[in-house]
């Protein structure tokens, strides 16, 4: 019985690790695509209008910061599940 409980406990730890890894991976998909879109469009804008590059760059960093937050929350969940 105790062996079974210990095994279940170990399996739970394993599942936690798998869940954490999957969670981070899934959380990174959307922001990956999103940051690609933000930067790609910013580059297009800069190439079309080099004189407005400064403004576009600032806005691009803002867009990246908002998009990236989701991936970072995924990373924090990964840390919490694995280590907390």
């Amino acid at each position: 019985m105790i062996d079974l409980l210990a095994a279940a406990d170990e399996a739970l730890d394993g599942l936690k690790a798998v869940g954490a890894g999957l969670g981070y991976g899934l959380a990174a998909i959307g922001p990956g695509v999103g940051i690609g879109l933000v930067v790609g469009n910013a580059i297009t804008a800069m190439a079309r209008q080099p004189e407005s590059a400064g403004m576009v760059r600032t806005t691009m960093f803002l867009g990246i910061a908002f998009t990236e937050a989701l991936a970072l929350i995924g990373f924090v969940v990964f840390i919490l599940l694995n280590f907390a």
Partner: protein
Amino acid sequence: MNQLLAAGDGGSSGGLHFPAIESLLEWPGFLFEGNTFLELNKVGVIYLFAMAAPLVIFTLAIRKSALVPRGVQTVAESSVDFVRENIVMQTMGPDGMKFMPFLLSLFFFIFFANITEVIPFIQFPANSRMAAPAFLAILVWVVFNAVGIKSQGFFSYFKNTVIPPGVPGALLPLVAIIEFVSTFLVRPFSLAVRLFANMLAGHLLLVTFAVLCENLWAKNILVSIIWAPFVVLIGLTGFEILVAFLQAFIFTILTAVYIGGALHPEH
């Protein structure tokens, strides 16, 4: 997982021992031990450094101020110019200049607390502990709400924030709830988590490659692979300098955007 790695390490050879996360992030106090208010550990010392370094730079710059800047005065003036042109003017316009000191000190504090990540023998970003990012985010929350209430009055600030212009009536309750949550709850949370998680991720990344390097070096498994993690480690160090700067910039510019939004409501 740590147990697995540790068990592997206990074997004859080839195990890779990754240090436990507590040993990477938690530092024992070494000054005034046992005193609740004065006890200092490495993180606290780094915060004191991050507070003192800009003070020293700007004091030196003021003391030897010349019409044509040289040395430390160039650093101070170009950083002030950077914050003014790229952060204040881009987001708030000329009447945001009164927030310049706040934004500048925020930028410098965060930057110096981040840059210790790559300074040899310190190598720990103080912002990878949640305390200071959370406190800074709460401070920013208080500041932008206070600015909004002061410039627009309590009720009209609340109304302008929660009800964006041009929303059809049927959607209004939903939009109001979303706007309320995103402005008053998600903003400080994401501000703190963004800074904290970026620095923590960078620190763990550097540690991972340093551990790889050290293990391969010490155990000498394949001479040819030894250089790969080392090159990556050097590349990542450069990348982390960029991240340290960028996170300070992003935190400051988001603060400026929030204050600017509270200062000038959308019409």
